[in-house]
Protein backbone atom coordinates (compact mmCIF):
# COMPACT_ATOMS: atom_id res chain seq x y z
CA UNK A 1 0.00 0.00 0.00
CA UNK A 2 1.36 3.37 -1.04
CA UNK A 3 1.40 6.13 1.63
CA UNK A 4 3.56 9.11 0.57
CA UNK A 5 5.48 10.67 3.44
CA UNK A 6 4.70 14.30 2.53
CA UNK A 7 0.94 13.93 3.17
CA UNK A 8 -1.27 13.83 6.24
CA UNK A 9 -4.02 11.25 6.64
CA UNK A 10 -7.35 10.84 8.39
CA UNK A 11 -8.54 7.65 10.06
CA UNK A 12 -11.37 7.69 7.50
CA UNK A 13 -8.79 7.25 4.71
CA UNK A 14 -8.58 10.74 3.26
CA UNK A 15 -5.22 12.33 2.48
CA UNK A 16 -4.38 16.03 2.93
CA UNK A 17 -1.68 18.02 1.18
CA UNK A 18 -1.17 21.50 2.58
CA UNK A 19 0.01 24.28 0.26
CA UNK A 20 0.08 27.62 2.08
CA UNK A 21 -3.46 28.36 3.23
CA UNK A 22 -4.96 25.66 1.02
CA UNK A 23 -5.49 21.97 1.78
CA UNK A 24 -5.89 19.50 -1.09
CA UNK A 25 -8.01 16.48 -0.09
CA UNK A 26 -8.35 13.10 -1.76
CA UNK A 27 -8.83 9.45 -0.83
CA UNK A 28 -5.92 7.13 -0.09
CA UNK A 29 -4.55 4.18 -1.99
CA UNK A 30 -5.92 1.95 0.78
CA UNK A 31 -9.38 3.50 0.33
CA UNK A 32 -9.47 3.12 -3.45
CA UNK A 33 -8.28 -0.44 -3.11
CA UNK A 34 -10.97 -1.28 -0.55
CA UNK A 35 -13.68 0.33 -2.67
CA UNK A 36 -12.74 -1.31 -5.93
CA UNK A 37 -13.64 0.31 -9.25
CA UNK A 38 -14.75 3.89 -8.65
CA UNK A 39 -17.66 4.66 -10.97
CA UNK A 40 -18.93 7.98 -9.61
CA UNK A 41 -17.68 10.86 -7.49
CA UNK A 42 -20.07 13.41 -6.04
CA UNK A 43 -18.16 16.65 -5.56
CA UNK A 44 -19.00 19.32 -2.99
CA UNK A 45 -20.27 22.76 -4.01
CA UNK A 46 -17.59 25.38 -4.42
CA UNK A 47 -18.23 28.00 -1.73
CA UNK A 48 -19.54 25.51 0.82
CA UNK A 49 -18.23 25.80 4.38
CA UNK A 50 -17.02 22.60 6.01
CA UNK A 51 -15.98 21.73 9.54
CA UNK A 52 -13.40 19.03 10.14
CA UNK A 53 -15.23 15.70 9.95
CA UNK A 54 -18.09 16.99 7.79
CA UNK A 55 -19.21 14.90 4.84
CA UNK A 56 -18.02 16.79 1.78
CA UNK A 57 -18.44 14.33 -1.07
CA UNK A 58 -19.26 10.78 -1.99
CA UNK A 59 -17.27 8.17 -3.85
CA UNK A 60 -19.16 5.24 -5.35
CA UNK A 61 -18.09 1.80 -6.48
CA UNK A 62 -20.31 -0.53 -8.50
CA UNK A 63 -21.75 -1.90 -5.29
CA UNK A 64 -21.81 0.94 -2.77
CA UNK A 65 -21.49 4.62 -1.93
CA UNK A 66 -18.99 5.86 0.67
CA UNK A 67 -18.81 9.38 2.12
CA UNK A 68 -15.69 11.52 1.85
CA UNK A 69 -15.13 13.59 4.99
CA UNK A 70 -13.23 16.83 5.04
CA UNK A 71 -10.31 16.36 7.42
CA UNK A 72 -9.95 20.14 7.78
CA UNK A 73 -12.18 23.19 8.36
CA UNK A 74 -12.66 25.97 5.83
CA UNK A 75 -14.32 26.82 2.54
CA UNK A 76 -14.39 24.63 -0.54
CA UNK A 77 -12.64 26.72 -3.21
CA UNK A 78 -12.05 24.16 -5.94
CA UNK A 79 -13.15 20.68 -6.99
CA UNK A 80 -11.59 18.21 -9.39
CA UNK A 81 -13.92 18.32 -12.40
CA UNK A 82 -11.84 15.62 -14.10
CA UNK A 83 -13.46 13.10 -11.75
CA UNK A 84 -16.92 13.80 -13.20
CA UNK A 85 -15.92 12.25 -16.50
CA UNK A 86 -13.13 9.96 -15.33
CA UNK A 87 -13.92 8.72 -11.80
CA UNK A 88 -11.64 5.71 -12.37
CA UNK A 89 -8.68 8.11 -12.23
CA UNK A 90 -8.95 7.74 -8.45
CA UNK A 91 -8.11 4.05 -8.78
CA UNK A 92 -5.24 4.74 -11.14
CA UNK A 93 -3.63 7.60 -9.22
CA UNK A 94 -5.26 8.24 -5.83
CA UNK A 95 -2.65 10.79 -4.73
CA UNK A 96 -2.60 12.56 -8.08
CA UNK A 97 -6.36 13.15 -7.99
CA UNK A 98 -7.53 15.53 -5.30
CA UNK A 99 -11.30 15.59 -4.81
CA UNK A 100 -11.59 19.13 -3.40
CA UNK A 101 -9.52 22.02 -2.07
CA UNK A 102 -10.25 23.75 1.24
CA UNK A 103 -9.19 27.32 1.99
CA UNK A 104 -8.25 26.83 5.63
CA UNK A 105 -10.04 28.84 8.35
CA UNK A 106 -6.92 28.75 10.51
CA UNK A 107 -3.28 27.91 9.95
CA UNK A 108 -2.87 24.17 9.45
CA UNK A 109 -2.26 22.04 12.51
CA UNK A 110 -1.81 18.28 12.42
CA UNK A 111 -4.30 17.79 15.27
CA UNK A 112 -5.93 14.37 15.03
CA UNK A 113 -4.52 13.71 11.59
CA UNK A 114 -1.92 11.00 11.08
CA UNK A 115 1.45 11.08 9.42
CA UNK A 116 2.38 8.45 6.86
CA UNK A 117 3.90 6.07 9.38
CA UNK A 118 0.93 6.30 11.74
CA UNK A 119 -1.51 5.89 8.87
CA UNK A 120 0.31 2.91 7.39
CA UNK A 121 0.10 1.29 10.83
CA UNK A 122 -3.71 1.55 11.03
CA UNK A 123 -4.02 0.17 7.51
CA UNK A 124 -2.06 -2.87 8.64
CA UNK A 125 -4.61 -3.64 11.35
Amino acid sequence: MNTPSDLFYSKEHEWVRVEGTKAYVGITDFAQHSLGDVVYVELPEVGAKVAAGDEAGVVESVKAASPIYSPVAGEIVETNANLEDAPQAINEDPYGQFVFVVELDAPFEKGDLLDATEYAAICEE
Binding site: G36, D37, V39, Y40, E60, S61, V62, K63
Partner: protein, 369 residues
Protein backbone atom coordinates in the same frame (compact mmCIF):
# COMPACT_ATOMS: atom_id res chain seq x y z
CA UNK B 1 -25.32 -16.16 14.82
CA UNK B 2 -24.35 -19.39 13.21
CA UNK B 3 -20.91 -19.67 11.67
CA UNK B 4 -20.51 -18.48 8.10
CA UNK B 5 -20.65 -21.22 5.50
CA UNK B 6 -18.02 -21.81 2.85
CA UNK B 7 -18.31 -23.47 -0.53
CA UNK B 8 -15.78 -26.16 -1.51
CA UNK B 9 -14.00 -23.42 -3.50
CA UNK B 10 -13.31 -21.06 -0.60
CA UNK B 11 -9.55 -21.70 -0.65
CA UNK B 12 -9.50 -21.03 -4.39
CA UNK B 13 -11.20 -17.67 -3.87
CA UNK B 14 -8.60 -16.67 -1.30
CA UNK B 15 -5.80 -17.87 -3.57
CA UNK B 16 -7.20 -15.74 -6.42
CA UNK B 17 -7.22 -12.68 -4.13
CA UNK B 18 -10.99 -12.74 -3.82
CA UNK B 19 -12.35 -10.01 -1.56
CA UNK B 20 -14.40 -12.19 0.77
CA UNK B 21 -17.71 -10.89 2.12
CA UNK B 22 -20.63 -12.28 4.11
CA UNK B 23 -23.30 -12.96 1.51
CA UNK B 24 -26.43 -14.21 3.23
CA UNK B 25 -24.38 -16.33 5.60
CA UNK B 26 -21.86 -17.47 2.97
CA UNK B 27 -18.24 -16.38 2.72
CA UNK B 28 -17.93 -15.58 -0.97
CA UNK B 29 -15.82 -13.23 -3.09
CA UNK B 30 -17.43 -9.95 -4.14
CA UNK B 31 -14.61 -9.58 -6.67
CA UNK B 32 -11.17 -10.95 -7.53
CA UNK B 33 -7.94 -9.03 -8.13
CA UNK B 34 -9.00 -7.49 -11.45
CA UNK B 35 -12.21 -5.96 -10.09
CA UNK B 36 -15.93 -5.86 -10.79
CA UNK B 37 -15.82 -3.90 -14.05
CA UNK B 38 -13.15 -6.10 -15.64
CA UNK B 39 -15.00 -9.24 -14.59
CA UNK B 40 -18.25 -7.85 -15.98
CA UNK B 41 -16.62 -6.94 -19.28
CA UNK B 42 -14.84 -10.28 -19.62
CA UNK B 43 -18.12 -12.15 -19.20
CA UNK B 44 -19.86 -10.05 -21.86
CA UNK B 45 -16.95 -10.23 -24.29
CA UNK B 46 -15.55 -13.71 -23.71
CA UNK B 47 -16.30 -15.82 -20.63
CA UNK B 48 -16.56 -15.71 -16.86
CA UNK B 49 -16.48 -18.49 -14.27
CA UNK B 50 -18.69 -18.19 -11.17
CA UNK B 51 -18.80 -20.28 -8.02
CA UNK B 52 -22.50 -20.56 -7.29
CA UNK B 53 -22.22 -23.56 -5.02
CA UNK B 54 -24.19 -21.71 -2.37
CA UNK B 55 -27.36 -22.16 -4.44
CA UNK B 56 -29.79 -24.70 -3.00
CA UNK B 57 -30.82 -27.99 -4.63
CA UNK B 58 -33.95 -29.84 -3.62
CA UNK B 59 -35.07 -33.20 -5.01
CA UNK B 60 -38.77 -33.92 -5.49
CA UNK B 61 -39.29 -37.54 -6.45
CA UNK B 62 -42.03 -40.14 -6.59
CA UNK B 63 -45.39 -40.93 -8.17
CA UNK B 64 -47.38 -37.69 -8.44
CA UNK B 65 -44.31 -35.42 -8.40
CA UNK B 66 -45.51 -33.48 -11.43
CA UNK B 67 -49.00 -32.93 -10.02
CA UNK B 68 -47.47 -31.77 -6.76
CA UNK B 69 -45.14 -29.26 -8.45
CA UNK B 70 -48.09 -28.02 -10.49
CA UNK B 71 -49.84 -27.25 -7.20
CA UNK B 72 -47.00 -25.11 -5.75
CA UNK B 73 -45.40 -23.50 -8.83
CA UNK B 74 -46.60 -20.73 -11.11
CA UNK B 75 -45.44 -22.00 -14.48
CA UNK B 76 -46.92 -25.01 -16.31
CA UNK B 77 -44.53 -27.81 -15.37
CA UNK B 78 -46.51 -30.25 -17.54
CA UNK B 79 -45.24 -28.40 -20.64
CA UNK B 80 -41.60 -29.41 -20.25
CA UNK B 81 -40.05 -32.64 -21.38
CA UNK B 82 -37.36 -34.67 -19.64
CA UNK B 83 -33.94 -32.95 -19.86
CA UNK B 84 -35.65 -29.58 -19.94
CA UNK B 85 -35.54 -26.82 -17.33
CA UNK B 86 -38.12 -24.16 -16.54
CA UNK B 87 -38.17 -20.88 -14.60
CA UNK B 88 -40.83 -20.79 -11.90
CA UNK B 89 -42.14 -18.69 -9.05
CA UNK B 90 -43.29 -20.39 -5.86
CA UNK B 91 -45.99 -18.23 -4.27
CA UNK B 92 -47.69 -17.75 -0.95
CA UNK B 93 -51.49 -17.85 -0.76
CA UNK B 94 -51.55 -14.03 -1.01
CA UNK B 95 -49.55 -14.07 -4.25
CA UNK B 96 -46.25 -12.96 -2.70
CA UNK B 97 -43.14 -14.95 -3.59
CA UNK B 98 -41.62 -17.70 -1.48
CA UNK B 99 -38.82 -17.84 -4.06
CA UNK B 100 -38.02 -18.06 -7.73
CA UNK B 101 -36.36 -21.24 -8.91
CA UNK B 102 -35.41 -23.44 -11.84
CA UNK B 103 -37.06 -26.84 -12.26
CA UNK B 104 -34.92 -29.59 -13.83
CA UNK B 105 -37.10 -32.42 -15.11
CA UNK B 106 -35.63 -35.92 -15.27
CA UNK B 107 -39.05 -37.55 -15.65
CA UNK B 108 -42.65 -37.08 -14.52
CA UNK B 109 -41.62 -38.58 -11.20
CA UNK B 110 -38.18 -37.06 -10.73
CA UNK B 111 -37.29 -33.37 -10.47
CA UNK B 112 -34.49 -31.22 -9.15
CA UNK B 113 -35.32 -27.70 -7.99
CA UNK B 114 -32.53 -25.11 -7.86
CA UNK B 115 -33.36 -22.32 -5.41
CA UNK B 116 -31.77 -19.19 -3.98
CA UNK B 117 -29.11 -19.88 -1.36
CA UNK B 118 -30.57 -17.76 1.40
CA UNK B 119 -34.04 -19.23 0.81
CA UNK B 120 -33.01 -22.89 0.74
CA UNK B 121 -34.19 -23.84 4.24
CA UNK B 122 -37.39 -21.82 3.95
CA UNK B 123 -38.13 -23.35 0.54
CA UNK B 124 -37.42 -26.87 1.72
CA UNK B 125 -39.74 -26.43 4.72
CA UNK B 126 -42.44 -24.96 2.48
CA UNK B 127 -42.20 -27.75 -0.08
CA UNK B 128 -42.00 -30.51 2.52
CA UNK B 129 -45.00 -29.08 4.38
CA UNK B 130 -47.18 -29.16 1.29
CA UNK B 131 -45.92 -32.41 -0.26
CA UNK B 132 -47.97 -35.60 0.00
CA UNK B 133 -46.30 -38.19 2.21
CA UNK B 134 -45.77 -40.50 -0.73
CA UNK B 135 -43.21 -38.11 -2.25
CA UNK B 136 -39.54 -37.86 -1.41
CA UNK B 137 -38.46 -34.27 -0.77
CA UNK B 138 -34.78 -33.95 0.00
CA UNK B 139 -32.45 -31.00 0.49
CA UNK B 140 -29.28 -32.14 -1.28
CA UNK B 141 -27.61 -28.70 -1.40
CA UNK B 142 -24.50 -29.72 0.49
CA UNK B 143 -23.81 -32.61 -1.89
CA UNK B 144 -23.66 -30.36 -4.94
CA UNK B 145 -21.22 -27.72 -6.06
CA UNK B 146 -22.35 -25.47 -8.90
CA UNK B 147 -20.15 -23.58 -11.34
CA UNK B 148 -21.52 -21.20 -13.93
CA UNK B 149 -19.53 -20.60 -17.09
CA UNK B 150 -21.05 -17.68 -18.94
CA UNK B 151 -20.29 -15.63 -21.99
CA UNK B 152 -19.96 -15.96 -25.77
CA UNK B 153 -16.91 -18.25 -25.43
CA UNK B 154 -18.41 -20.46 -22.70
CA UNK B 155 -19.33 -23.31 -25.04
CA UNK B 156 -16.00 -23.29 -26.82
CA UNK B 157 -14.07 -23.46 -23.54
CA UNK B 158 -16.24 -26.07 -21.84
CA UNK B 159 -16.29 -28.21 -24.99
CA UNK B 160 -12.54 -28.78 -24.70
CA UNK B 161 -13.18 -30.62 -21.42
CA UNK B 162 -15.88 -33.06 -22.52
CA UNK B 163 -16.68 -35.55 -25.25
CA UNK B 164 -20.38 -34.75 -25.00
CA UNK B 165 -21.66 -32.48 -27.77
CA UNK B 166 -22.51 -29.30 -25.88
CA UNK B 167 -23.96 -27.66 -28.97
CA UNK B 168 -26.75 -30.25 -28.74
CA UNK B 169 -27.86 -28.85 -25.37
CA UNK B 170 -30.34 -26.13 -26.26
CA UNK B 171 -31.25 -23.09 -24.18
CA UNK B 172 -33.04 -24.16 -20.98
CA UNK B 173 -32.17 -27.82 -21.54
CA UNK B 174 -29.73 -30.05 -19.67
CA UNK B 175 -27.89 -33.33 -19.76
CA UNK B 176 -27.17 -35.37 -16.66
CA UNK B 177 -24.11 -37.63 -16.37
CA UNK B 178 -21.91 -35.50 -18.60
CA UNK B 179 -18.23 -36.18 -17.97
CA UNK B 180 -16.42 -32.84 -17.75
CA UNK B 181 -12.71 -32.90 -16.94
CA UNK B 182 -13.18 -36.48 -15.76
CA UNK B 183 -15.98 -35.56 -13.35
CA UNK B 184 -19.62 -36.57 -13.68
CA UNK B 185 -21.75 -33.43 -13.97
CA UNK B 186 -25.18 -32.11 -14.77
CA UNK B 187 -24.77 -29.51 -17.50
CA UNK B 188 -27.56 -27.07 -18.34
CA UNK B 189 -27.61 -24.24 -20.84
CA UNK B 190 -28.85 -21.71 -18.31
CA UNK B 191 -27.46 -18.75 -16.44
CA UNK B 192 -27.96 -15.43 -14.74
CA UNK B 193 -25.97 -13.00 -16.84
CA UNK B 194 -27.93 -12.42 -20.04
CA UNK B 195 -25.23 -14.29 -21.97
CA UNK B 196 -25.09 -17.75 -23.46
CA UNK B 197 -23.49 -20.23 -21.11
CA UNK B 198 -23.81 -23.20 -18.84
CA UNK B 199 -24.42 -24.11 -15.26
CA UNK B 200 -22.48 -27.18 -14.22
CA UNK B 201 -23.39 -29.20 -11.14
CA UNK B 202 -20.89 -31.63 -9.69
CA UNK B 203 -20.17 -33.52 -6.52
CA UNK B 204 -18.81 -31.09 -3.92
CA UNK B 205 -15.66 -33.17 -3.72
CA UNK B 206 -14.96 -32.57 -7.44
CA UNK B 207 -15.46 -28.80 -7.40
CA UNK B 208 -11.84 -27.70 -7.01
CA UNK B 209 -10.54 -29.89 -9.84
CA UNK B 210 -13.38 -28.82 -12.12
CA UNK B 211 -12.82 -25.13 -11.32
CA UNK B 212 -9.10 -25.42 -12.05
CA UNK B 213 -9.72 -27.36 -15.25
CA UNK B 214 -12.14 -24.74 -16.61
CA UNK B 215 -9.84 -21.82 -15.79
CA UNK B 216 -6.91 -23.64 -17.37
CA UNK B 217 -8.90 -24.57 -20.48
CA UNK B 218 -10.07 -20.98 -20.91
CA UNK B 219 -6.68 -19.38 -20.35
CA UNK B 220 -6.82 -15.68 -21.22
CA UNK B 221 -10.36 -16.07 -22.53
CA UNK B 222 -11.90 -16.58 -19.10
CA UNK B 223 -11.64 -15.09 -15.62
CA UNK B 224 -13.21 -15.88 -12.27
CA UNK B 225 -16.13 -13.58 -11.48
CA UNK B 226 -17.35 -12.56 -8.04
CA UNK B 227 -20.71 -11.56 -6.65
CA UNK B 228 -20.31 -7.89 -7.60
CA UNK B 229 -20.26 -8.58 -11.33
CA UNK B 230 -22.81 -11.36 -10.91
CA UNK B 231 -25.18 -8.67 -9.67
CA UNK B 232 -24.27 -6.06 -12.29
CA UNK B 233 -24.56 -8.67 -15.06
CA UNK B 234 -27.96 -9.94 -13.95
CA UNK B 235 -29.22 -6.42 -13.36
CA UNK B 236 -28.02 -5.13 -16.70
CA UNK B 237 -29.93 -7.99 -18.34
CA UNK B 238 -32.97 -7.13 -16.19
CA UNK B 239 -33.06 -10.51 -14.47
CA UNK B 240 -34.94 -10.37 -11.15
CA UNK B 241 -33.29 -10.94 -7.78
CA UNK B 242 -35.23 -12.28 -4.83
CA UNK B 243 -35.46 -9.66 -2.09
CA UNK B 244 -35.34 -6.88 -4.68
CA UNK B 245 -37.65 -7.30 -7.70
CA UNK B 246 -39.65 -10.11 -6.06
CA UNK B 247 -40.22 -10.95 -2.42
CA UNK B 248 -42.91 -12.08 0.01
CA UNK B 249 -44.36 -8.57 -0.41
CA UNK B 250 -43.96 -8.26 -4.19
CA UNK B 251 -46.01 -10.52 -6.47
CA UNK B 252 -44.64 -11.91 -9.73
CA UNK B 253 -47.29 -9.95 -11.62
CA UNK B 254 -46.09 -6.70 -10.06
CA UNK B 255 -42.55 -7.73 -11.08
CA UNK B 256 -43.92 -8.20 -14.62
CA UNK B 257 -43.05 -11.89 -14.63
CA UNK B 258 -46.54 -12.78 -15.83
CA UNK B 259 -45.07 -14.86 -18.66
CA UNK B 260 -43.99 -17.37 -16.01
CA UNK B 261 -47.33 -17.29 -14.17
CA UNK B 262 -49.84 -19.51 -15.93
CA UNK B 263 -53.13 -18.39 -14.44
CA UNK B 264 -54.94 -20.41 -17.12
CA UNK B 265 -53.21 -23.72 -16.41
CA UNK B 266 -55.64 -26.39 -15.32
CA UNK B 267 -54.02 -27.12 -11.99
CA UNK B 268 -54.67 -24.81 -9.08
CA UNK B 269 -51.47 -23.60 -7.47
CA UNK B 270 -50.88 -21.79 -4.21
CA UNK B 271 -51.38 -18.10 -4.83
CA UNK B 272 -53.33 -18.54 -8.08
CA UNK B 273 -56.59 -17.08 -6.71
CA UNK B 274 -54.84 -14.08 -5.20
CA UNK B 275 -52.92 -13.42 -8.41
CA UNK B 276 -56.11 -13.75 -10.48
CA UNK B 277 -57.76 -11.22 -8.21
CA UNK B 278 -54.76 -8.88 -8.51
CA UNK B 279 -55.01 -9.07 -12.25
CA UNK B 280 -58.78 -8.56 -12.30
CA UNK B 281 -58.64 -5.57 -9.96
CA UNK B 282 -55.62 -4.05 -11.69
CA UNK B 283 -52.12 -3.99 -10.25
CA UNK B 284 -51.39 -1.28 -7.69
CA UNK B 285 -47.76 -1.05 -8.78
CA UNK B 286 -45.56 -2.47 -11.52
CA UNK B 287 -41.84 -2.81 -12.13
CA UNK B 288 -40.51 -0.01 -14.36
CA UNK B 289 -37.22 0.76 -16.07
CA UNK B 290 -35.75 4.13 -15.12
CA UNK B 291 -33.02 6.08 -16.86
CA UNK B 292 -31.66 9.07 -14.94
CA UNK B 293 -31.38 12.43 -16.69
CA UNK B 294 -29.14 13.90 -13.99
CA UNK B 295 -25.81 12.58 -12.79
CA UNK B 296 -25.78 10.12 -9.90
CA UNK B 297 -26.38 6.49 -9.08
CA UNK B 298 -29.82 5.47 -7.82
CA UNK B 299 -29.60 2.56 -5.37
CA UNK B 300 -32.03 -0.01 -4.02
CA UNK B 301 -34.59 1.48 -1.62
CA UNK B 302 -34.22 5.02 -2.93
CA UNK B 303 -37.64 6.69 -2.97
CA UNK B 304 -39.21 7.61 -6.30
CA UNK B 305 -41.23 10.83 -6.23
CA UNK B 306 -43.52 12.77 -8.52
CA UNK B 307 -43.96 16.46 -7.67
CA UNK B 308 -42.28 15.84 -4.34
CA UNK B 309 -44.67 13.05 -3.32
CA UNK B 310 -43.34 9.54 -2.81
CA UNK B 311 -44.95 7.19 -5.33
CA UNK B 312 -42.61 4.22 -5.34
CA UNK B 313 -39.23 2.74 -4.56
CA UNK B 314 -36.14 1.56 -6.43
CA UNK B 315 -35.73 -2.23 -6.27
CA UNK B 316 -32.23 -2.33 -7.78
CA UNK B 317 -29.92 0.44 -8.93
CA UNK B 318 -26.44 -0.41 -10.13
CA UNK B 319 -24.29 0.97 -12.93
CA UNK B 320 -24.87 -0.95 -16.17
CA UNK B 321 -21.26 -1.06 -17.41
CA UNK B 322 -21.87 -2.45 -20.90
CA UNK B 323 -24.55 0.17 -21.53
CA UNK B 324 -22.51 2.91 -19.86
CA UNK B 325 -25.51 4.13 -17.88
CA UNK B 326 -26.69 4.13 -14.28
CA UNK B 327 -30.06 2.43 -14.65
CA UNK B 328 -32.65 1.55 -12.05
CA UNK B 329 -35.67 -0.69 -11.65
CA UNK B 330 -38.50 0.62 -9.51
CA UNK B 331 -42.00 -0.32 -8.44
CA UNK B 332 -44.39 2.45 -9.49
CA UNK B 333 -48.16 2.85 -9.62
CA UNK B 334 -49.45 2.14 -13.14
CA UNK B 335 -50.32 5.80 -13.81
CA UNK B 336 -46.57 6.59 -13.71
CA UNK B 337 -45.47 3.49 -15.64
CA UNK B 338 -45.92 4.93 -19.12
CA UNK B 339 -42.65 5.44 -21.04
CA UNK B 340 -41.29 9.02 -20.95
CA UNK B 341 -43.01 9.77 -17.64
CA UNK B 342 -40.64 11.94 -15.62
CA UNK B 343 -40.01 11.07 -11.97
CA UNK B 344 -37.42 12.03 -9.37
CA UNK B 345 -35.28 9.47 -7.57
CA UNK B 346 -34.17 10.62 -4.13
CA UNK B 347 -30.45 9.95 -3.80
CA UNK B 348 -29.04 11.10 -0.47
CA UNK B 349 -32.04 13.43 -0.06
CA UNK B 350 -31.44 15.07 -3.41
CA UNK B 351 -33.77 14.51 -6.36
CA UNK B 352 -32.32 13.03 -9.52
CA UNK B 353 -34.63 13.40 -12.51
CA UNK B 354 -35.28 10.18 -14.42
CA UNK B 355 -37.49 8.98 -17.25
CA UNK B 356 -39.52 5.81 -17.31
CA UNK B 357 -38.34 3.77 -20.29
CA UNK B 358 -39.06 0.44 -21.92
CA UNK B 359 -36.55 -1.98 -23.38
CA UNK B 360 -33.40 -0.11 -22.38
CA UNK B 361 -31.72 -3.03 -20.61
CA UNK B 362 -29.05 -5.28 -22.12
CA UNK B 363 -29.90 -7.96 -24.66
CA UNK B 364 -27.20 -10.01 -26.27
CA UNK B 365 -27.02 -9.68 -30.02
CA UNK B 366 -27.21 -13.32 -31.05
CA UNK B 367 -30.17 -15.31 -29.83
CA UNK B 368 -29.50 -18.46 -27.86
CA UNK B 369 -30.59 -21.63 -29.52
Amino acid sequence: MSALKRTPLYEKHVELQGKIVDFGGWELPVQYATGVLAEHRKTRESAGLFDVSHMGEIIVRGAGAEDFLQSILSNDVSKIAPKETQYNIMCYENGGCVDDLIVYKYSETDYLLVVNASNTDKDFDWIAKHAPETLTVENVSSQFAQLAIQGPNAEKILQTLTDADLSAIRFFHFEADVVVAGKICIVSRTGYTGEDGFEVYCDSADAVELWDAILKAGGDEICPVGLGARDSLRFEAKLPLYGHEISAEISPLEARLGFFVKLDKEADFIGKEALKAQKAEGLKRVLCELEPIDRGIPRAECEVCVNGEKVGVVTTGVPAPTLGKNLALALLPPQYAEPETQVEIMVRNKPIRALVKKGIFYRKKTLAR
